[in-house]
């Protein structure tokens, strides 16, 4: 159960990176090393999330300091300009686009956004996980949302979603958007 939770959180915090499994392994090694310090002062899951967040941040820091191939640096971030075959694929592309945007946020903002919006933790819990005051968590959340909104237009699939949402909002309730008006 915890393994699935940790894997999901790592995947989200790494914004879809391929290193998920290595990081999950590192999380549990860290749990093994640090468990003697766990004193039931908080829920075990809160403590586990805290370890997970710290390991992910360490991994990202070390990844930044590693030399990267020129190709990788020059390669533009893939954008989803292709036509979407169906709704499921469209959703997957939108989620990928969101992860791309998340990866452009600072670590602190990304962590609180993922923990609150995707994992469903309250600001109080997040404050315990990241070791920051609740007010700071709320502030980071506010700026994370604002930054993401500003970045949305850079992802075509999300811009299309805006058009779709606007179109569906303009329709009278119960109307089928696929149907031609009589």
């Amino acid at each position: 159960m915890h393994r699935a939770d940790v894997t999901r959180l790592v995947h989200r915090l790494l914004a879809g990176s391929a290193d998920v499994e290595d990081v999950v392994q590192e999380v549990f090694l860290q749990v093994h090393k640090s468990l003697k310090d766990f004193r039931f002062g908080s829920r075990f899951s809160t403590w586990l999330y805290r370890v997970t967040v710290n390991v992910v941040l360490m991994q990202r820091r070390s990844a930044r300091s590693r030399p990267v191939f020129i190709d990788a640096v020059d390669a533009p971030t893939p954008r989803d300009e292709a036509l979407l075959p169906d709704e499921q694929a469209a959703r997957a592309r939108r989620v990928e686009a969101l992860f791309r945007l998340l990866s452009r946020l600072s670590d602190k903002k990304r962590v609180v956004y993922v923990l609150h919006e995707l994992e469903g933790h309250s600001p109080t819990e997040i404050a315990k996980i990241v070791g920051a005051p609740i007010l700071t968590v709320r502030t980071r959340l506010f700026y994370a949302r604002r930054e993401l909104v500003q970045l949305l237009h850079e992802e075509p699939s999300l811009a299309r979603l805006a058009v779709e949402l606007e179109a569906s909002a303009a329709l009278p309730s119960g109307a089928d958007p696929e149907k031609e008006p009589a």
């Binding site: 999901r8 090694l29 749990v31 468990l35 003697k36 002062g41 969101l98 979603l161 805006a162």
Partner: protein
């Protein structure tokens, strides 16, 4: 450029989609790799942590956290020897407490020592193979091939170390002994102390006590074939010794009265008990707090609870204290919470209340 409100709607919608997406499945191979890493890191004797709780505490959550709460195999058929064996001769010693349940240990050309900190050390002889079935409060090892010698630290609790060999079950309390598989027979040599030997599948049969120095050869049905004693033959019937109720098939629930040996609370047991206490405190806070004029009342306090070996909450302290009626109600109601039987514990938890 998207308008702000429009952008917020899009962000909310796509965030909802991302939340519903389950993400990658955790790899099954991860657990095995992890335990191999841990086993290779923990070479040599490991010291018991100062709290005494550490061994169980880290073992339990790692196992639980990994979803590796493997079903405890009661019968040999459940032992999966097809899993990739840990080739143990590559390391000088193995911490038995970190070996995954049902993983197979193989001693190739050199013997392999497996340690359970503060409890037992067993050595797998060259060419032997065994699997650790349980390494919690009870250690249960199945000898699959060859021979092993075990030294078990004396302990008042029964059935702390069990070796299954062929159809024979050897349980010890504090002793030095060797078990070998020879064809379909098993040979038990007791160097020191006393062991109880019984057929693996015969719950109705009473165990034999082999007292050192002596040895016994047990057949494919787990019954004693021949016994060899050195200076003082001491093979005794032990009619007063009962096998654990969990291993006595056919007993009605009412007959299962044997209490479990005390153990340290697992994280799951702590969380279950603490949840009940926190619920009681929250209920009391709601009953005895009356916010006026739409003002939200919040309180935060660190509660320290003392748990008796029977699982009762014997003491409850709040720092800072709650309002007198809330605290009196909490102290009364929280004491109705029941934890699992254990060696006892003191648990501290921060509770946040609002109304």
């Amino acid at each position: 450029m998207l308008e702000r409100s429009q952008g917020e709607r899009v962000l909310r919608a796509v965030t909802d989609e991302a939340r519903r997406q389950t993400g990658p499945e955790p790899s099954e191979a991860l657990e095995g790799r992890l335990f191999d890493v841990l086993a290779s890191q923990r070479v040599g004797p490991s010291e018991r942590a100062p709290l005494g709780r550490a061994r169980l505490v880290w073992l339990a959550p790692v196992a639980v956290a990994l979803g590796a709460a493997a079903a405890i195999a009661l019968w040999p058929a459940a032992v999966d020897v097809s899993k990739p064996p840990v080739v143990a001769r590559q390391v000088a010693g193995i911490d038995g407490d970190v070996v995954t349940a049902e993983r197979v240990l193989t001693a190739a050309r050199e013997s392999v020592e497996v340690r359970h900190a503060g409890r037992a050390v067993w050595r797998l002889e060259p060419g032997s193979q065994a699997s650790v079935l349980e390494s919690g409060s009870k250690i249960r090892v199945r000898l699959l091939r060859g021979a092993m010698r075990a030294e078990v630290v004396p302990d008042g609790a029964p059935e702390r170390f069990v070796v299954e060999a062929g159809e024979t079950r050897v349980s010890v309390h504090g002793t030095v002994f060797r078990v070998a598989l020879e064809g379909d027979e098993s040979v038990v040599d007791v160097e020191h102390g006393i062991v109880a030997v019984a057929p693996l599948r015969g719950a109705s049969l009473e165990p034999l006590f082999l007292r050192a120095p002596s040895s016994g050869r047990f057949g494919s049905d787990g019954r004693l074939r021949t016994s060899v004693a050195s200076s003082r033959p001491k093979i005794e019937r032990a009619p007063h010794v009962r096998r654990p109720v969990s291993e006595q098939p056919g007993l009605p629930p009412s007959a299962r009265v044997e209490p479990a040996p005390p153990h340290e609370l697992t994280i799951g047991e702590v969380e279950a008990g603490v949840a009940t206490v926190v619920q009681a405190i929250t209920r009391c806070f709601h009953e005895h707090t009356a916010p006026e004029g739409g003002v939200r009342v919040t309180a935060s306090s660190t509660v320290t609870m003392t748990i008796s070996p029977e699982g009762a909450v014997t003491d409850l302290r709040f720092a800072p204290p709650l309002s007198p009626p809330v605290q009196a109600c909490s102290e009364r109601d929280a004491r109705t919470a029941r934890f699992a039987r254990s060696v006892g514990a003191t648990i501290t938890r921060v509770v946040e209340l609002w109304r």
